[in-house]
Subunit: 249 residues, 2 copies
């Protein structure tokens, strides 16, 4: 039995998300079916974390066990021959038996792309959030820095129906970096943390946008964190702009 570690990139636009669901096209289900065709085994591959409908991955990490004798070096090519073009295996390697894509993860990086010009090219529409209205980008850069460090992120977490409630899990996470950068016509948020709650990156961006619109001041971010109340923060921005960039172990 080998424990395989797969690096997966996907365009989330046409999937209802990572997690397998009955009668819906998911990344996990599509991948499980491709692995099944190669190995003849029924497996449920495990990702570093779920991504929601429309969310993209540059390098999601996935683990699954197999008794198949197919050489590890051939596995990625075999997968790409079967998977749709919207999902690509970038690399497959054998991992230690106790390595688990989710449980072993120590840090994740996400990116959120906002397209700022008046007309969004049709070729970018699936891959950014088009927000052409005025924003004080300097204030957003200041506000993003206030997210760094260890905090209880309850104010930025959607209620997650799949999460254990008894005992309730902690909403404390550590953010290692949180910054905005201009790249051409895009304003891009990159955040690296020990872990992220449901919708957390999209809720952070939705709140930082309120600072950009001067509805909030940069200092308000600290107050919102301390409120431990979802209604204190801004709205969830669209999935199309969000990318899981990488996972560190």
């Amino acid at each position: 039995m080998r424990n395989l570690k797969l690096i997966l990139s996907y365009d989330g636009s046409d999937f209802v998300g990572w997690q397998v669901q009955p009668d819906a096209v998911t990344v996990q289900g599509t991948l499980a079916s491709a692995i099944g065709r190669i190995t003849g085994e029924k497996v449920l591959p495990q990702a570093s974390g779920r991504t929601d409908a429309g969310v993209h991955a540059l390098a999601q990490v996935v683990t699954f066990a197999t008794e198949s004798t197919i050489p590890t070096a051939n596995f990625g090519k075999a997968l790409n021959d079967i998977l749709p073009a919207s999902v690509r295996a970038l690399d497959v390697e054998e991992a230690a038996p106790d390595f688990h894509a989710r449980k072993s993860a120590r840090a994740k990086t996400y990116r959120y792309r906002i397209y700022r010009r008046d007309i969004c090219p049709p070729f970018l529409a699936r891959y950014v959030w088009h927000y052409p209205y005025p924003l004080d980008e300097g204030a957003m850069i200041d506000a993003a820095e206030r997210v760094r460090g260890e905090h209880d992120f309850t104010s930025f977490a959607a209620v997650d129906p799949e999460r254990e409630k008894d005992p309730p899990l902690s909403n404390v996470r550590t953010i290692f970096s949180s910054a905005w950068d201009r790249e051409g016509d895009e304003f891009i948020y990159t955040v690296k943390g020990s872990g992220f709650l449901h919708h957390m990156v999209r809720n952070l961006v939705g709140t930082l946008i309120l600072v950009g619109k001067a509805t909030l001041r940069a200092e308000d971010i600290t107050r919102i964190l301390e409120a431990h109340n979802r209604s204190a923060a801004g709205a969830t921005v669209p999935a199309s702009g969000l990318y899981l960039v990488n996972v560190e172990y």
Copy 2:
């Protein structure tokens, strides 16, 4: 009555092509419906030429007549509020009464993008042709130059069921430039001509690929042109890599 000239960009992936068809999603039909919602008029906008299913446009030119009193400067924004994100009006201006997007065109430029690395990123899959196999790119550059000038392009033309046959129209066209360039991981063909026959760019690329594979030599392009026979040339490459870049008047 104003004659409006519209510059339109579209992602062709989810359309069965430009031209209206019953019970199918076309760019022309989608645009006609948006214009109808704005003006209350039933119009059939005319493009510089049809694009096939999956073919993209960076700057298609479209004309249509309207009695609407909506200022020309507001027309583009009004269209973009209604059109899907895969179709964008880049500019709208008033044209001379006798200007016609197709009949007035003097030159068109097309581009064909080939992605050359082993694994095509999922975010490019709709926008390139993935061809990771060996190609003699130098030979393809030489061969492309042989297409320039005035020729009868029957060997590179698909039979077009919609074209007049009595009297038969000429298949002579002038190619002003025809060249390959490397841009990062892509090998890109750009061709500018007085006009193009049905599938002509995709058939030229499919034939130039045969030179890259050493199935043909660069000199064979001249022989194929002179054959005036579709079966002398290579296969039609996929639509996903093809872009109408611009139209000159």
